[in-house]
Amino acid sequence: MSEKILIADLVAEVAELTSVPKNRCDDYVKAFFETIANALSVDGIVKVKGLGTFKLVSVEERKSVNVQTGAEMIIPAHSKVSFVPDKVLKDEINRPYAHLKTYVLNANAPLDPPEADDDEATMDDADVDVAETQSTDTVAEVVAESAESVVEGAEQEVEEAPAPISEQVAEDSKQGETPIVEDDAKEAVTANADVDDKQEQSTTNSNDNSDWFDNWEVEYESTDKAEPAKSTEPSPKPASLSELLAKAEADRNERVEEVKPSATEAVSEPETEDSDEIVIPEDIKTPEQIVAEVMASVKGADFKAEQPVADSVEEVKEVAEEKVEEVVETVTEDVAEKADEVVETPTEPVAETAEQPIVNEQPAATLPTEEKVQHGKVLGIAIIAFLVLLAALIFGLLKVDPDFFKSLKAGSDNLTVVPADTSSLAQELSAYTEETENETDSTAAETDEQPEETIEETVKDQLSKPMPAEAVIDPLWDGEFVAYMKRQNPDVSLEIKGFNKEVAIKPGLFLTMVALDNYGDKSYWIYLYLYNKDRIKNPNNVPIGTKIRVPILDETLVNGTNEKNIEMAKEIRKVFVK
């Protein structure tokens, strides 16, 4: 690059091209430039086809200052040679940048385009951005990890039935993270309602079992688990359930009515106690104390709830089963109403409530088995306890109505399905307390046995439906974009067929160029932006160093230089980038 080519080199090349003797070529080339110079002085302009135009331009006289002496001087009028390259030459030499076009900037756009000159400033921006994306990523990762561990645990401990459920729970918690909350809220809650459906059925088995204490413990834990699983919409479902139960009560005989209130009292008491106790010690007691409190509340709940729950469940469950479908409907309606509220709640609380049950269950499950907390575990439990505190606070902030706790009775009846989670939780806990691992596993194993068989079939039926629909749309797509495409271009698939690579933005490399390289036209850059919206704040100024995911897109969305696709991309750009 940038070698200096002298006449000798030119001559050699000309000789090669024409097979004319070198000395004659030498003469010719020299004469060529000499003639141009002469013609300039005669005509003032020389047009050389394929090269450009040499032209004499007259310069008026002007004043100047001698830099060394400071004396003013006048530069006399003279002519200078200008050169305008031929269009052919210009186009050919500009080929590397030929695809770039001038475009009008947004009036509000920042004044610093990603120029090479601005390296330092933009690099700073990039650092900040990276930090930010990392922090958000970590939240997502935590949730994803916990969800994954739930799934893993479920698969290991319970082979068939509960596994899909916990997967759904995992999905639900993931969906809480995605910007598609509004759309998915319905699906998520219907999924939960499905879970409830199965859970109610499973109670038949669990209540038949004489070992109800373990059952109840699991039930209690699983209610906690189920709450955050509905993290997108905690309150409406239980409310409607309680309504349903109220109906069931009216329908049923007096005995149920007698039993029922006691049951609600019994259950609601420990529940509220639990949450209160956790909220109050904000100055953080020792972890042992908190754990002890949780234990106490759990035990208290056990003793109080013992009889009524067992009885009332048998009475109520039949009616409840009949009306489960109604519940699902009411739930979805409620969710639709409150979807907006849910969207507003920040992702963090959602994530934390999703974590909460995992944490909450650990002390309950492990501590009864092991009374003395050893110092090694204290640290881990301290973290757990703190998370419990946080979760309880956030839980309170979510404005859970009092009905919710009453209806927990119904919830505790129904939620036996989730014991698969306890096993996974036990696994997670093992990181902190290896010693208690075996014991918790054994308790988990016990609880697993009951729900498995009954749920199996229904679970398979119901899970097969929502899975494919959700798998198509990648959560990384911008939520609004997904909604827009559903409205405007329903036949266009947003499927991601894999990943080419990650491209790091560097000086001179823009989204448009990445799009041109990978999709065949620069207009498709908008998809890169919408797919990487978590990493790109301002598409007009992508900081240097930003890593862009380049997915392989469906042909209906991106299809080389197909005008229709390019038009669509431009339309989308108008909608999503002002």
Binding site: I5, L17, E34, A39, V81, I93, K101, T102, E115
Partner: protein, 90 residues
């Protein structure tokens, strides 16, 4: 002076055939062009040098509408006359 004149002028000086003159002319232009495309500077003694230069992208404002436009970077050829040539015209 245009290309045709240039060819005939040189042909008269060098006593070349018309065919040869055109061939040489095309070869010369092609050689210069090829070097410029490679990014090389073509320096001709007593005449000047042709150099491909990258112009950075810039924001320009349309004087009529006031719109700000991002003009993409481009590569252009610049000509810098040698002192000999300069002196001939000043």
């Amino acid at each position: 002076m245009n290309t045709k004149d240039l060819i005939t002028t040189i042909r008269g000086q060098q006593s070349l055939s018309a065919e040869e003159a055109e061939q040489l002319f095309n070869a010369t232009v092609a050689a210069v062009k090829a070097q410029l495309l490679k990014g090389n500077i073509v320096a001709v003694q007593g005449f000047g040098q042709l150099e491909p230069k990258k112009k950075n992208e810039r924001i320009s404002v349309s004087p009529t509408t006031g719109e700000r436009m991002l003009v993409p970077p481009k590569i252009s050829v610049s000509f810098k006359p040698s002192n000999v040539l300069k002196d001939r015209f000043s």
